[in-house]
Symmetry: C2
Subunit: 137 residues, 2 copies
Protein backbone atom coordinates (compact mmCIF):
# COMPACT_ATOMS: atom_id res chain seq x y z
CA UNK A 1 0.00 0.00 0.00
CA UNK A 2 2.61 2.52 -1.06
CA UNK A 3 0.19 4.67 -3.08
CA UNK A 4 -2.37 6.75 -1.28
CA UNK A 5 -5.16 9.10 -2.21
CA UNK A 6 -5.41 12.38 -0.34
CA UNK A 7 -8.21 11.01 1.82
CA UNK A 8 -6.20 7.95 2.83
CA UNK A 9 -3.22 10.15 3.57
CA UNK A 10 -5.42 12.37 5.73
CA UNK A 11 -6.66 9.36 7.67
CA UNK A 12 -3.13 8.00 8.16
CA UNK A 13 -1.63 11.26 9.35
CA UNK A 14 -4.55 12.89 11.11
CA UNK A 15 -4.09 15.94 8.93
CA UNK A 16 -7.20 17.30 7.26
CA UNK A 17 -7.59 17.06 3.49
CA UNK A 18 -7.74 20.82 2.80
CA UNK A 19 -4.69 21.29 5.01
CA UNK A 20 -2.71 18.82 2.90
CA UNK A 21 -3.62 20.76 -0.25
CA UNK A 22 -2.68 23.96 1.58
CA UNK A 23 0.77 22.59 2.45
CA UNK A 24 1.25 21.70 -1.19
CA UNK A 25 0.21 25.18 -2.26
CA UNK A 26 2.72 26.88 0.03
CA UNK A 27 5.48 24.51 -1.00
CA UNK A 28 5.93 22.48 2.16
CA UNK A 29 4.80 19.33 0.42
CA UNK A 30 5.87 18.48 -3.13
CA UNK A 31 3.32 18.35 -5.94
CA UNK A 32 2.34 14.71 -6.03
CA UNK A 33 1.76 12.47 -9.02
CA UNK A 34 -1.73 12.47 -10.50
CA UNK A 35 -3.97 9.67 -11.64
CA UNK A 36 -5.58 9.62 -15.08
CA UNK A 37 -8.53 11.42 -13.53
CA UNK A 38 -6.34 14.11 -11.95
CA UNK A 39 -6.52 12.92 -8.36
CA UNK A 40 -3.40 13.27 -6.22
CA UNK A 41 -1.38 10.11 -5.55
CA UNK A 42 1.02 10.06 -2.63
CA UNK A 43 3.93 7.85 -1.71
CA UNK A 44 5.42 6.82 1.64
CA UNK A 45 8.09 9.53 1.58
CA UNK A 46 5.49 12.25 1.35
CA UNK A 47 3.51 10.61 4.10
CA UNK A 48 6.58 10.67 6.36
CA UNK A 49 7.14 14.30 5.51
CA UNK A 50 3.55 15.21 6.31
CA UNK A 51 3.62 13.28 9.58
CA UNK A 52 6.69 15.26 10.50
CA UNK A 53 4.99 18.55 9.66
CA UNK A 54 1.96 17.58 11.72
CA UNK A 55 4.09 16.69 14.72
CA UNK A 56 5.92 19.98 14.46
CA UNK A 57 2.59 21.72 14.38
CA UNK A 58 1.39 19.90 17.49
CA UNK A 59 4.59 20.99 19.17
CA UNK A 60 3.79 24.57 18.29
CA UNK A 61 6.75 25.25 16.04
CA UNK A 62 6.25 28.26 13.79
CA UNK A 63 6.07 27.43 10.11
CA UNK A 64 9.42 29.08 9.53
CA UNK A 65 11.13 26.66 11.91
CA UNK A 66 9.42 23.70 10.26
CA UNK A 67 10.65 24.93 6.90
CA UNK A 68 14.18 25.12 8.27
CA UNK A 69 13.99 21.59 9.57
CA UNK A 70 12.59 20.39 6.24
CA UNK A 71 15.43 22.24 4.58
CA UNK A 72 17.85 19.99 6.47
CA UNK A 73 15.97 17.00 5.13
CA UNK A 74 15.89 18.30 1.57
CA UNK A 75 19.57 19.19 1.41
CA UNK A 76 21.39 16.61 3.52
CA UNK A 77 24.65 17.37 1.76
CA UNK A 78 24.84 20.99 2.78
CA UNK A 79 27.97 22.14 4.55
CA UNK A 80 28.18 21.15 8.16
CA UNK A 81 28.37 24.73 9.21
CA UNK A 82 24.92 25.56 7.86
CA UNK A 83 23.31 22.42 9.11
CA UNK A 84 24.87 22.64 12.53
CA UNK A 85 23.81 26.23 12.97
CA UNK A 86 20.19 25.56 12.11
CA UNK A 87 20.11 22.35 14.10
CA UNK A 88 21.73 24.01 17.12
CA UNK A 89 19.25 26.86 17.07
CA UNK A 90 16.35 24.44 16.92
CA UNK A 91 17.94 22.37 19.66
CA UNK A 92 18.03 25.44 21.90
CA UNK A 93 14.34 25.99 21.35
CA UNK A 94 13.61 22.35 21.98
CA UNK A 95 15.54 22.37 25.24
CA UNK A 96 13.75 25.49 26.41
CA UNK A 97 10.42 23.95 25.60
CA UNK A 98 11.27 20.79 27.42
CA UNK A 99 12.27 22.61 30.59
CA UNK A 100 9.16 24.78 30.55
CA UNK A 101 7.02 21.74 30.01
CA UNK A 102 8.80 19.88 32.81
CA UNK A 103 7.96 22.72 35.21
CA UNK A 104 4.36 22.70 34.11
CA UNK A 105 4.22 18.93 34.44
CA UNK A 106 5.46 19.07 38.03
CA UNK A 107 2.83 21.61 38.94
CA UNK A 108 0.00 19.73 37.27
CA UNK A 109 1.06 16.56 39.06
CA UNK A 110 1.20 18.41 42.34
CA UNK A 111 -2.31 19.73 41.78
CA UNK A 112 -3.64 16.30 41.00
CA UNK A 113 -1.95 14.61 43.93
CA UNK A 114 -2.74 17.35 46.43
CA UNK A 115 -6.39 16.67 45.92
CA UNK A 116 -7.29 14.94 49.12
CA UNK A 117 -9.40 17.28 51.21
CA UNK A 118 -12.10 17.78 48.64
CA UNK A 119 -10.55 21.07 47.59
CA UNK A 120 -7.23 22.03 46.10
CA UNK A 121 -5.48 24.29 48.53
CA UNK A 122 -3.62 26.57 46.17
CA UNK A 123 -2.78 26.77 42.53
CA UNK A 124 0.76 27.73 41.69
CA UNK A 125 0.64 27.04 37.98
CA UNK A 126 1.37 30.62 37.11
CA UNK A 127 4.29 30.77 39.50
CA UNK A 128 5.67 27.53 38.15
CA UNK A 129 6.04 29.02 34.70
CA UNK A 130 6.60 32.65 35.56
CA UNK A 131 10.29 32.27 36.26
CA UNK A 132 12.34 35.35 36.81
CA UNK A 133 9.39 37.12 38.33
CA UNK A 134 8.27 37.54 41.91
CA UNK A 135 4.66 36.57 41.63
CA UNK A 136 2.54 37.91 44.45
CA UNK A 137 -0.86 36.50 43.68
Amino acid sequence: MSELTIGQLAKETGCKVPTIRYFEKIGMLPEPARSAGNTRIYNAATMARLTFICHCRELGFPQKAVRELLGLVDHPDQSCETVTKIAATQLDHVNQRISHLAALKVELERMISSCNGGRVAQCRIVESLADGTHATS
Copy 2:
Protein backbone atom coordinates in the same frame (compact mmCIF):
# COMPACT_ATOMS: atom_id res chain seq x y z
CA MET B 1 8.67 48.71 41.27
CA SER B 2 5.35 47.02 41.71
CA GLU B 3 3.47 49.35 39.36
CA LEU B 4 4.14 49.17 35.65
CA THR B 5 2.98 50.90 32.53
CA ILE B 6 2.02 48.78 29.56
CA GLY B 7 5.35 49.55 27.90
CA GLN B 8 7.35 48.44 30.93
CA LEU B 9 5.25 45.31 31.20
CA ALA B 10 5.91 44.59 27.54
CA LYS B 11 9.65 44.96 28.08
CA GLU B 12 9.62 42.72 31.16
CA THR B 13 7.62 39.93 29.59
CA GLY B 14 8.71 40.15 25.96
CA CYS B 15 5.06 40.41 24.95
CA LYS B 16 4.19 43.19 22.55
CA VAL B 17 2.10 46.14 23.70
CA PRO B 18 -0.85 45.56 21.32
CA THR B 19 -0.87 41.89 22.30
CA ILE B 20 -1.27 42.83 25.96
CA ARG B 21 -4.25 45.00 25.11
CA TYR B 22 -5.59 42.18 22.99
CA PHE B 23 -5.35 39.72 25.91
CA GLU B 24 -7.26 42.19 28.04
CA LYS B 25 -9.94 42.57 25.39
CA ILE B 26 -10.54 38.85 25.15
CA GLY B 27 -10.58 38.45 28.92
CA MET B 28 -7.33 36.57 29.51
CA LEU B 29 -5.90 39.48 31.46
CA PRO B 30 -8.00 41.50 33.93
CA GLU B 31 -8.77 45.15 33.23
CA PRO B 32 -6.01 46.96 35.06
CA ALA B 33 -6.19 50.09 37.18
CA ARG B 34 -5.88 53.38 35.33
CA SER B 35 -3.87 56.51 36.05
CA ALA B 36 -5.46 59.95 36.17
CA GLY B 37 -4.62 60.28 32.47
CA ASN B 38 -6.24 56.92 31.61
CA THR B 39 -3.08 54.87 31.10
CA ARG B 40 -3.09 51.27 32.26
CA ILE B 41 -1.24 50.46 35.49
CA TYR B 42 -0.20 46.86 36.15
CA ASN B 43 0.85 44.99 39.27
CA ALA B 44 3.16 42.03 39.82
CA ALA B 45 0.32 39.49 39.79
CA THR B 46 -0.75 40.53 36.32
CA MET B 47 2.85 40.42 35.18
CA ALA B 48 3.15 36.84 36.43
CA ARG B 49 -0.07 35.95 34.66
CA LEU B 50 1.11 37.48 31.42
CA THR B 51 4.49 35.74 31.65
CA PHE B 52 2.62 32.50 32.06
CA ILE B 53 0.45 33.18 29.03
CA CYS B 54 3.52 34.03 26.96
CA HIS B 55 5.26 30.84 27.98
CA CYS B 56 2.21 28.81 27.12
CA ARG B 57 2.14 30.51 23.75
CA GLU B 58 5.80 29.68 23.14
CA LEU B 59 4.95 26.11 24.03
CA GLY B 60 2.26 26.15 21.38
CA PHE B 61 -0.70 25.56 23.64
CA PRO B 62 -3.98 26.53 22.05
CA GLN B 63 -5.69 29.47 23.70
CA LYS B 64 -8.41 27.19 25.01
CA ALA B 65 -5.89 25.15 26.99
CA VAL B 66 -4.31 28.30 28.38
CA ARG B 67 -7.74 29.46 29.48
CA GLU B 68 -8.31 26.16 31.26
CA LEU B 69 -5.01 26.42 33.06
CA LEU B 70 -5.79 30.01 34.04
CA GLY B 71 -9.16 28.78 35.21
CA LEU B 72 -7.37 26.54 37.69
CA VAL B 73 -5.47 29.57 38.92
CA ASP B 74 -8.56 31.75 39.15
CA HIS B 75 -10.68 29.21 40.97
CA PRO B 76 -8.33 27.20 43.16
CA ASP B 77 -11.17 26.13 45.43
CA GLN B 78 -13.15 24.25 42.81
CA SER B 79 -14.06 20.67 43.52
CA CYS B 80 -11.21 18.22 43.19
CA GLU B 81 -13.06 16.39 40.50
CA THR B 82 -13.07 19.39 38.18
CA VAL B 83 -9.49 20.37 38.86
CA THR B 84 -8.19 16.85 38.54
CA LYS B 85 -9.97 16.31 35.24
CA ILE B 86 -8.63 19.49 33.67
CA ALA B 87 -5.17 19.03 35.14
CA ALA B 88 -4.99 15.40 34.04
CA THR B 89 -6.03 16.27 30.49
CA GLN B 90 -3.43 19.00 30.27
CA LEU B 91 -0.84 16.70 31.84
CA ASP B 92 -1.48 14.19 29.08
CA HIS B 93 -0.82 16.87 26.48
CA VAL B 94 2.30 17.98 28.31
CA ASN B 95 3.66 14.45 28.45
CA GLN B 96 2.99 13.93 24.76
CA ARG B 97 4.78 17.13 23.92
CA ILE B 98 7.73 16.22 26.08
CA SER B 99 8.17 12.85 24.40
CA HIS B 100 7.90 14.30 20.89
CA LEU B 101 10.40 16.98 21.81
CA ALA B 102 12.73 14.42 23.33
CA ALA B 103 12.72 12.50 20.05
CA LEU B 104 13.44 15.66 18.11
CA LYS B 105 16.20 16.60 20.53
CA VAL B 106 17.94 13.26 20.06
CA GLU B 107 17.82 13.64 16.30
CA LEU B 108 19.09 17.20 16.33
CA GLU B 109 21.95 16.19 18.61
CA ARG B 110 22.78 13.30 16.32
CA MET B 111 22.89 15.63 13.35
CA ILE B 112 25.15 18.06 15.13
CA SER B 113 27.55 15.42 16.43
CA SER B 114 27.64 13.44 13.19
CA CYS B 115 29.09 16.43 11.49
CA ASN B 116 32.70 15.43 11.13
CA GLY B 117 33.42 14.83 7.46
CA GLY B 118 32.45 18.28 6.28
CA ARG B 119 29.07 17.03 5.18
CA VAL B 120 26.23 15.49 7.08
CA ALA B 121 25.90 11.98 5.79
CA GLN B 122 22.15 11.60 6.05
CA CYS B 123 19.31 13.45 7.59
CA ARG B 124 16.86 11.33 9.48
CA ILE B 125 14.87 14.09 11.12
CA VAL B 126 11.73 13.19 9.27
CA GLU B 127 12.07 9.52 10.05
CA SER B 128 12.77 10.24 13.70
CA LEU B 129 9.55 12.15 14.10
CA ALA B 130 7.39 10.26 11.69
CA ASP B 131 6.89 7.35 14.05
CA GLY B 132 4.44 4.70 13.08
CA THR B 133 5.39 5.10 9.46
CA HIS B 134 7.87 3.32 7.28
CA ALA B 135 9.67 6.16 5.65
CA THR B 136 11.44 5.24 2.47
CA SER B 137 13.14 8.44 1.46
